[in-house]
């Protein structure tokens, strides 16, 4: 089931989320988080078990963009891979250059976990499209 994130987040927030997820699990020979459906997984969860974290995501994505603007003078989604990785390594530690309305490290931890849950758990949860993550690591469901 595909879920439309635009009901939950602004277009700009969806773009930041997509780039964030693809930085957490980047595409290579195998799909990155977004192509594999981690965004779809999150959208379903934000209307279910993680409904209480919608505010965390809205504020966190906006703050991430503001942090990128402050540090690099451009939107998070416009940063190159090296800059994104460097910025997220700082956020992971809770090191921010501007004031965040939420706990930056907690937001990063949640996003990191949710991207992986969508990517590595069963496709029935909305991610891991065509079992791409399982094919990549060699977990095959035979029976």
């Amino acid at each position: 089931m595909e879920v439309d994130l635009s009901a939950l987040l602004s277009e700009r927030q969806v773009l930041i989320l997509r780039v964030l997820f693809d930085t957490l699990i980047p595409p290579d020979d195998y799909a990155g988080a977004w192509e594999a459906g981690s965004g779809n997984y999150l959208a379903r969860q934000l209307q279910g078990d993680l409904a209480d974290q919608l505010g965390l995501y809205r504020r966190g994505l906006d703050a991430l963009d503001a942090e990128a603007q402050f540090r690099h003078g451009m939107a998070f989604a416009a940063l190159d891979e090296v800059a994104r990785n460097g910025l997220l390594a700082q956020i992971e530690q809770g090191h921010t250059a501007i004031d965040w309305p939420i706990d930056a490290a907690a937001f990063f931890g949640a996003a990191c976990q949710h991207a992986a849950e969508g990517y590595y758990s069963d496709p029935g949860n909305g991610g891991n499209r065509d079992q791409v993550a399982w094919r990549m690591i060699g977990f095959e469901v035979k029976g």
């Binding site: 990785n85 976990q113 992986a116 590595y120 069963d122 690591i137 977990f139």
Partner: protein, 542 residues
């Protein structure tokens, strides 16, 4: 008013066995189960909601809301927890109980496990004690469990460690994954190692097929019903006898008594919240170590002001489970063959006789690990959890990482306990279980010792590196919960006699792991099944 010969509370491992034995003996049995009779499809294969990883819920109950517990952590902080949250110590609440979704390891406890106090002495602050029965007394019931529920194992190897009259009914699972490397390493170290006995059909048995070696065993239901629990063996026999009525969604909140204090039935709530009073000649409580204690504590009356069997404040104490020291190892090449269940080799070299350690435990290789569980907890600590390094580690090493782990004998503390919470109530208005205390520090020492042995085994098996940390002091419970209504001869230090009959009551029995005086260094289910056969045997003779 409905009247039965026997009412059994809980259709798990113990309750199912008692129901089968007594219904076949002609008793009219009412079996009450708070959970549902779930189909395979209802339990499903959700990797985020199962009995291996319950991030957002469970596949086998209870429902997320309406069934809280209160957990007091080792620092004294208390919180209300839902079934899938840390601190709840959930076990599957469905017909079959934990046996519906377990890993099905079928270990007998060793003779020394029944006399821990005599073997080791009692450390200060611990309630370590001998069982009132010996291994030899339970051996015929172990054998019955192995044959009537169905165990696959290496009979010859087992006979070298356990006195036994008869072998297993089915041959063991084939060695898979890292088993060959671990077998070679054990031989080098001089440690006996052999196939893990499992309550899983390796051949067609008792009318059901052999295991198809799928990848979703532990934590899930079996797709071909080759995993043997109470729900597809003894309960089926109970229902086929025509003498057993199974009622699901029935939450018992009281074992009822006459004005003079004699047990005469139970009170339960159905799914709609309707209250029912049912009478019986005998009552068996088999709701799991936490819920059994909760029910007895809540069964207060003029004659039994502190609950049933609780005249000496013993009900709910000595809560035990198992510590699980686990070591992960990176092997030189793939040790993954995708053949389930995966667990296939164990050593019992360190269950006893460890210098300066009380007890010890069994070590075994692990079940097939779900990818998301691997990502969450099985990567080396210095590997980032995100970015290309994380993805590369998953991709290159999921099949090269293996684990050794095992249950460490819990050294019990009377302060690890179940009480009734004075404020929080469930959806029926029944006070919820409040869990507090920790195991005795000797358990932590034993776990550290076993963690070292696990590392030694993996290193000898050729591991390029190992990682993991031994567990710290905490409360044990969870799926292996035990000890809260321990057997004994002295009513001041135990809840039931050596037949599982509650002291002071000739018609009230316990038939689950609550009875365990100590919990062995093994998965406890075969002991739960054997004790239930024993309790039923006694009741049948009355």
């Amino acid at each position: 008013m409905a009247h039965y010969d026997v009412i059994i509370v809980g259709a798990g491992a113990g309750g199912g066995v008692v129901a089968g034995v007594l219904a076949e003996a002609g008793r009219r049995v009412l079996l009450l189960e708070r959970g549902a009779h779930l189909s395979y499809d209802e339990i499903a294969r959700d990797h985020l909601r199962n009995h291996r990883l319950a991030l957002y819920g469970h596949n086998t109950g209870p429902e997320p809301d309406g069934h809280p517990r209160v957990f007091v952590d080792p620092t004294g902080r208390e919180q209300i927890v839902r079934p899938h949250e840390g601190g709840y110590h959930n076990n599957a609440m469905t017909v079959g109980g934990g046996t519906r979704v377990y890993g099905a390891q079928a270990w007998r406890f060793l003779p020394q496990d029944f006399r821990m106090a005599s073997e080791y002495g009692v450390p200060e602050g611990s309630s370590l004690a001998d069982w009132p029965i010996s291994y030899d007394e339970l051996a015929p019931d172990y054998e019955r469990a192995e044959w009537e529920v169905g165990v696959a194992g290496d009979s010859d190897a087992s006979a070298q460690h356990w006195p036994r009259e008869r072998g297993y009914p089915m041959p063991p699972v084939t060695p898979c994954g890292a088993a060959p490397a671990l077998q070679r390493a054990a031989a080098e170290l001089g440690w006996p190692a052999f196939a893990v006995p499992l309550l899983i059909n390796t051949t067609p048995y008792l009318g059901r097929p052999a295991c198809t070696q799928c990848q979703h065993c532990v934590g899930f239901a079996c797709p071909v019903d080759a995993k043997n629990g109470s729900q597809n063996t003894m309960l089926v026999r109970a229902l086929a006898s025509g003498n057993c009525t199974l009622v699901t969604h029935a939450q018992v909140d009281q074992v009822t008594v006459t004005p003079t204090g004699r047990v005469n039935g139970v009170r339960y709530y159905d799914a709609a919240g309707q209250q029912h009073n049912i009478q019986a000649e005998q009552v068996v409580v088999a709701a799991g170590a936490i819920e059994t204690a909760r029910l007895l504590l809540n069964s207060r009356s003029t004659a039994h002001r502190d609950g049933l069997g609780n005249a000496y404040d013993q009900v709910g104490r000595h809560l035990q489970g198992h510590y699980y020291p686990r070591v992960a190892a990176l092997m030189p090449e793939s040790v993954y063959d995708g053949i389930g269940p995966g667990v296939s080799i164990a050593t019992t070299a360190f269950n006893h006789g460890n210098d300066g350690i009380i007890g010890g435990g069994m070590l075994a290789n692990d079940f097939i690990v779900l990818p998301i569980i691997f990502w969450r907890g099985y990567m080396p600590p210095e590997i980032p959890r995100w970015g290309s390094a994380a993805k590369a580690f998953m991709r290159e090493n999921y099949q090269r990482v293996t684990h050794v782990m095992g249950p460490v004998q819990d050294i019990p503390s009377p302060l690890a306990r179940v009480t009734l919470d004075p404020q929080v109530r469930d959806r029926y208005g029944m006070p919820v279980a409040r869990l507090s205390g920790t195991t005795h520090p000797e358990t932590v020492r034993a776990a550290e010792f076993m963690w070292q042995r696990a590392r030694e085994w993996l290193t000898a098996a050729g591991a390029e590196r190992t990682w993991g940390t031994p567990p710290g002091l905490s409360l044990s419970g969870g799926q292996h919960q035990a000890g809260t209504c321990r057997m004994g001869e002295d009513p001041r230090t135990s809840v039931t006699d050596h037949w599982g009959r509650v002291h002071g009551h000739d018609n009230l029995f316990v038939a689950d792991a609550s009875l365990h005086v100590t919990n062995g260094g093994f998965n406890p289910v075969l002991t739960v099944l054997a004790l239930a056969f024993r309790v039923a045997r006694r009741m049948d003779a009355m």
